[in-house]
Amino acid sequence: MDCVLDVCDLRMRYGKVDVLTGVSFTARRGEVLVLLGPNGAGKTTTIEVLEGFRLRSAGRVSVLGSDPAHGGEAWRARIGVVLQSWRDHGRWQVRELLAHLGRYYAPYSTPGLTRPWDVDDLLETVGLTEQAGKRARHLSGGQRRRLDVAIGIVGRPELLFLDEPTAGFDPEARGEFHDLVHRLSDLEEVTILLTTHDLDEAERLADRILILAGGTIIADGSADELSRAASTRSEVRWSRDGQRFVHAAEDATAFVRDLFRQYGESVQDLEVRRASLEETYMAMVREAEAGAARRPLGVVT
């Protein structure tokens, strides 16, 4: 089965407040999806519905071929969850905890996939070998988060949910985490859905970026596709006779052609810059928050 996630018109309402007003997207096996959106946009709600932790109000959701509302334990064993949680099992030693939590997955091994992950191997993979004998509550913030990730993948999941996994990481730990995500998706073919507030991280990790705002997905595509779809304006900079100019052009190519036609060889230091993901993101979110609900931009696969 190639389609790991299939979400169609997911709606969530708390009392009289609509948090999700129709979220639709899909994910193929081995894809890394990054879910972006302002605080309160419903990212965590969406993930929790997919994890089977929260009952949706309406819509059709299929996760690994099952409805998460009636997933069952065999389904649960194929999913890894890294919660935004932080200080559970504080008295447990790192190795002891991973070995214990791994036990529950053993009956769900398949011929092609041995569960759980070997503990030594896993400690090595997330870089906690030296902390194996430490109690969880004595770990630093970044180490604790790596333990959370280790717990999330101890059962060798086919689908992994990561809710703000790198919050509190220093740049080095962040880099190592990015390597781990690439390894999981490339070598193990794990499908990954993660949320973050770090747009750099999104650009680096995502095969596809989803932007959630105003209760719906307002953009779905690669970073490149999004900036192309969102901002028709590019920034054009040049200098002429020692003077610098900046212009925001709707059609940069046509503008530059005109520029050369008019001034020819006196145009120097030409730079054309398409909007960064950050600018794209800000523009899309601002637009979504200002305007009413609108159809998704970008490429829907």
């Binding site: 334990e73 919660l83 949680s85 559970d88 447990w92």
Partner: protein, 282 residues
């Protein structure tokens, strides 16, 4: 192997690991030593006092009754407390994220609490045996009675603690359980026989398992003649068995329903609220 069986076995191991953690955590040990020390002090101070209407030491009677307080305190208060704390720090949500994790979690919790109760009873009884006289410990029947009262006591209190734990929103609220337990102690004949209490209070006390746990413990370890100081002048084994069984059945029937309801809610907006609080702490 059957996944549920795997989870049960993992839960047994989990309970043992948690129990080991409890007895190697200085804070837990200190509170246990202080509590037990307090009980033993009260017992020593009452060694010379007499149970009303008899020539028997009140201190000895207190020691035996305090064993039932150990069961009540750990079974109800500690169980509820742990459950609420585990909900607050995300342990329960973690269990939910793992296949059959809730089974393992609950088995582990029950094993941990039971092991704590049994060791608390053993330590209190052992220390007390050096301090008081008149315990009836040389008859096999004594130990048999102690065993079934203890097992029924576990069944009557631990599920009850789980039910209460699923109802209380945070660890501050569980202090209410402690207050209630304190009030029940006063009317359950733990430190003083109930024969002098007003009728209403005497009957109120006899609704709850604590009274019957105490009576059962006394029937196991005190001289047979001491039955005369009890309500109706009898150990009332049948009634003890009946009342403790009724509480066990009610608790065992209700606990899974309440726990399932609690687990289902474990993902509500409270998770986010707790995360905010935790972020403030970091």
């Amino acid at each position: 192997m059957n996944p549920t069986l795997v989870a049960v076995r993992a839960g047994l191991a989990r309970g043992w690991i948690e129990f080991r953690q409890t007895v190697t955590t200085p804070g837990e040990l200190i509170s246990f030593v202080m509590m037990t020390g307090g009980f033993l002090t009260a017992i020593v101070l009452n060694r010379q006092a007499r149970v009303p209407g008899t020539e028997f030491s009140l201190g000895t009677t207190m020691l035996v009754s305090v064993l039932s307080l150990d069961v009540g305190l750990y079974g109800v208060q500690f169980m509820a407390d742990r459950l609420v704390a585990d909900r607050e720090d995300g342990t329960l949500l973690r269990a939910k994220a793992i296949p059959n994790g809730m089974v393992g979690y609950l088995v582990g919790k029950a094993v941990n609490i039971s092991a704590q109760i049994v060791s608390a009873v053993a330590v209190t009884l052992l220390a007390g045996a050096f301090l008081v006289t008149g315990l009836r410990t040389d008859e096999p029947g004594s130990w048999l009675t102690l065993a079934w009262v203890l097992v029924l006591g576990l069944l009557a209190t631990v599920p009850l603690g789980a039910v209460l734990g699923s109802l209380f929103p945070n660890t501050r609220a569980t202090a209410l359980i402690l207050l209630t337990l304190g009030a029940l102690t006063a009317i359950s004949g733990i430190f003083y026989p109930v024969s002098n209490l007003p009728t209403v209070l005497r009957w109120t006390g006899q609704v709850f398992p604590l009274y019957w746990l105490g009576l059962g413990m006394r029937s196991a370890l005190l001289p047979h003649a001491m039955a005369a100081a009890e309500v109706g002048g009898s150990w009332r084994h049948l009634a003890t068995f009946g009342v403790l069984s009724a509480w066990s059945i009610a608790g065992l029937a209700l606990a899974p329903v309440m726990l399932r309801r609690m687990a289902r809610r474990e993902s509500g907006s409270s998770v986010a609220a707790r995360r905010e609080k935790a972020m403030l702490r970091l």
